[in-house]
């Protein structure tokens, strides 16, 4: 059965058509990478999946039922920036999810319960390589460490779907490579369904089991917002030849400036 | 030094409204022209500010009470002369308590709202003295005169000391009693036109013009001239009846002879002694003052009280005499 299914999905902001007639079906455990020119609607699509925005037309289903209309613990998210809480240290950031569940009013735990949550969080942090920075604040971390932290924070809630919006866009190339290993090992261990937006086509090819290209099928030079983007390429990875890659690269380059 | 244009400050009060009329009716200009000078009459909202301005040298003359004349310009070293003794308060200042049929003695233990260190304060002190109490028996709350009426209706105000027209507004409120007023200490709260002594000495014309204009208006008021009185009533924010009621509580010296008699009386030095004792007790004569006589005062007949080397306040009936003798 499909975890996520979209049928003729449209998203418009007033006159601005962002997404146009998007249909898709995703099975559990897929790792989907999404590329597309800037402003074409990738983040908007992720927001639909989160429940932060609602589609103007069409259906979006989770396990065959309409998707909840607000974010919940089913779907974890890591943004390019601002995903961690600056006022909590590394450990507190990761403990937060569990604490909220354990203490509905105060959102804080004490004593034995807290120790249990803490242990769990430390284990998670060690697995993403942050075991030695438990008491640092996010602002004391490098960009790569912050994104590891955001991942750990999202994973501790054991979401069924993980959404990543250019999570490595702001990182140096060397650190990026490390993060790729990390995300792949997490994906393999947990069997999560992952949606990841990236600007880097190579990254998309390298990481995903399936690559989507968001683009407009039709263009109206007079009214650029009249038509929306949809999935123009849906490529099961490992089966692709170089020509496709090249064609896509061309289509991305053509829209620049 | 001799000069020919002068600035006089005044603020709204029943006994000082003639200055407004002097200005608006042209009487002041008439008299100034007669002596070849020009006199600018300026209304100042804030009474204390007008005296401060005078003390700092911004004005050549200013209206004020006898106590303020002693404690502000005179204590500040500005040699000042009471050119015109216009009136004394004869019920225009009073103490009001909440509740029916109260006596002044009931004030014991209360918080009293008044403009601290003003003639209200002095009135209260005199009243307390007369009923065998002292300031220790009450708590003085300094309250801006502008808010006296407004705040009297709030529950935590139980007593107030103030002057007209505020006094009549408060006393008219239901369930209040006026327990003491200035008619019980007649002649102690005196309203003056004070001018800088040096300026007056160098410019006798100024004294003549001011006194001339003043007593021309006094004449009108004595006759009950409706135009003049109505204009004054309007300017003080009330109607003719209201203004007359205020005048009833004011002992105006309508004729220069009356004023001269009051100024030259033996009572005045005694009154001023009471005032300077009060001022000294409240620290109004400055931190350097050794006793109540720090600031010397000169009365008619070369009668000097206090420090003879530091005479700063002079009660001088010379110019009023000229008016009495019709020699202006």
């Amino acid at each position: 059965m499909n975890v996520i299914e979209a049928r003729h999905l449209w998203k418009e902001y007033g006159d601005n058509v962002v997404l146009e007639n998007v249909s898709l079906a995703v099975k559990a455990g897929e790792f989907i990478t999404v590329v597309g020119t800037s402003g074409c609607g990738k983040t908007t699509f992720l927001k639909l999946l989160l429940g932060v925005e609602t589609a103007t037309r069409g259906d979006l289903l989770l396990d065959g039922k309409p998707l909840p209309d607000e974010p919940n613990a089913d779907r974890g998210i890591v943004f390019q920036r601002y995903s961690v809480f600056p006022h909590l240290n590394v450990l507190e950031n990761v403990m937060l999810g569990a604490e909220l569940a354990a203490s509905p009013f105060w959102g804080r735990t004490f004593g034995k319960r807290r120790r249990a949550i803490r242990e769990q969080a430390v284990a998670m942090l060690e697995s993403v390589g942050l075991g030695t920075a438990l008491l640092k604040y996010p602002s004391e971390l490098s960009g790569g460490m912050q994104q590891r932290l955001a991942l750990a924070q999202a994973l501790i809630k054991k979401p069924r779907i993980l959404l990543l919006d250019e999570p490595f866009g702001a990182l140096d190339p060397g650190i990026r490579a490390d993060m790729h290993q990390l995300i792949l090992s997490i994906w393999r261990q947990t069997g999560l369904t992952i949606f990841m937006i990236t600007h880097d086509l190579k990254e998309g090819f390298y990481l995903g089991t399936r690559l989507w290209v968001f683009d407009k099928r039709r263009h109206d030079p007079q009214a650029p917002n009249r038509f929306g983007a949809t999935i123009t390429y849906d490529i099961p990875l490992g089966h692709t030849d170089r020509t496709t890659l090249h064609t896509i690269q061309q289509s991305l380059g053509a829209n620049h400036d | 030094e001799a000069k020919d244009s002068f600035k006089i400050a005044w603020s709204i009060y029943a006994g000082w409204m003639p200055w407004d009329y002097a200005d608006s009716s042209g009487i002041m200009k008439k008299w100034a022209d007669k002596y070849g000078i020009s006199v600018d009459i300026v209304q100042i909202n804030d009474y204390v500010e007008s005296i401060n301005q005078y003390t700092a040298g911004g004005f050549d003359g200013c209206v004020m009470t006898n106590m303020d004349a002693l404690t502000i310009p005179a204590a500040g070293g500005v040699d000042s002369t009471a050119l015109i003794v216009g009136d004394f308060s004869n019920g225009n200042d009073g103490v009001v308590l909440k509740g029916k049929d109260k006596k002044l003695a009931d004030i014991k233990g209360q918080k009293v709202n008044l403009v601290e260190l003003s003639v209200s304060h002095y009135l209260l002190a005199r009243g307390l003295e007369k009923s065998g109490l002292s300031e220790k028996d009450i708590t003085v709350v300094n309250t801006s005169d502008a808010d006296m009426v407004a705040t009297f209706s709030s529950s935590d105000v139980t007593s107030a000391v103030t002057w007209n027209p505020l006094l009549s507004e408060i006393a008219a409120l239901p369930d209040t009693s006026k327990v003491f007023d200035s008619s019980e200490i007649p002649g102690e709260i005196i309203d003056l036109m004070v001018v800088n002594s040096d300026t007056l000495k160098d410019n006798p014309k100024l004294g003549k013009a001011l006194v001339g204009a003043w007593y021309e208006i006094m004449g009108l008021m004595k006759q009950g001239d409706a135009t003049a009185l109505t204009a004054m009533a309007k300017a003080s924010g009330t109607d003719l009846a209201g203004y007359k009621a205020q005048l009833d509580a004011t002992k105006m010296f309508y004729t220069p002879a009356d004023a001269v008699a009051f100024t030259d009386s033996a009572e005045l030095p005694k009154t001023m002694q009471l005032v300077s004792q009060f001022s000294f007790d409240h620290g109004l004569l400055g931190s350097g003052a050794k006793d109540a006589g720090t600031v010397g005062m000169a009365f008619s007949g070369d009668n000097i009280t206090g420090d003879k080397a530091n005479v700063k306040l002079r009660f001088d009936s010379t110019y009023m005499k000229m008016a009495a003798d019709s020699s202006l």
Binding site: S83, A101, P104, G107, Y137 | G76, G77, V141, S144, G283
Partner: protein
Amino acid sequence: MKRLINQRPSRAAQVLLGILPFALLLLAYLWASELRLAANPNDKLLPAFSSIGEAIWSMAFEADKRSGNYLLWVDTLASLQRLGLGVLLSALMGLVIGVANGAVPLFRAGLSPLVMALSLIPPMAILPVLFIVFGLGEVSKVALITIGIAPFLIRDMQQRVLELPEEQLIKAQTLGASSWQLILRVILPQVLPRLLDAVRLSLGSAWLFLIAAEAIAATEGLGYRIFLVRRYLSMDVILPYVLWITLLAFLTDYLLRVLTRRSFPWYYNGGKP
């Protein structure tokens, strides 16, 4: 020669330059005071330093003849109490209403226009109304301060909440936070240092309102004393009182700054969004 904008004074020169205008002002005062006192030894407008010194001494270290109090300290205590209470109350209101407005769109729709309108009313203009409603006691003074600065604090807090990156709020929801938990654990702790910043900004106005209220009705307080002795032009008391208030204003500002820095280390490590 370097360009003017590239010329940086050394540390020592910087200190000297900073002191210079103060020294000049002082000299100007001394000169003017001497001049006036030569003309009139009793002049109260620009008292000599010796008389100011005496006045300070007698206000601070000699019991007042009438009340037996050490006036400067009594005044200071009274004023600081009022100021503290007013500011505390305003800060609380700012925190509660501001955060509610910022976080909950329904509250914001209802309250934000009202707060906006209230913030535009000059509190000085409604002083008489205040005295009638709250009486002449301490309440009205605290109320004036509160009415004066609470709308600003509320609006500022609301703004700060709205400035929090949307990403954080979404993330918290994906961690399972309820609205209340989100406010308590994500929003509140992050706006606290900003509240302290806003309080520091509004302290200047708080002092103004305090002095205005004390000028109208009081039995002690720094503003009360200044407006009382104004009655007999005692600049020897007014000037040190003004300097003292300025010093107090500086100290409260400084203490608040240190407090923020100590309590919210994350805020000063570039934790601002």
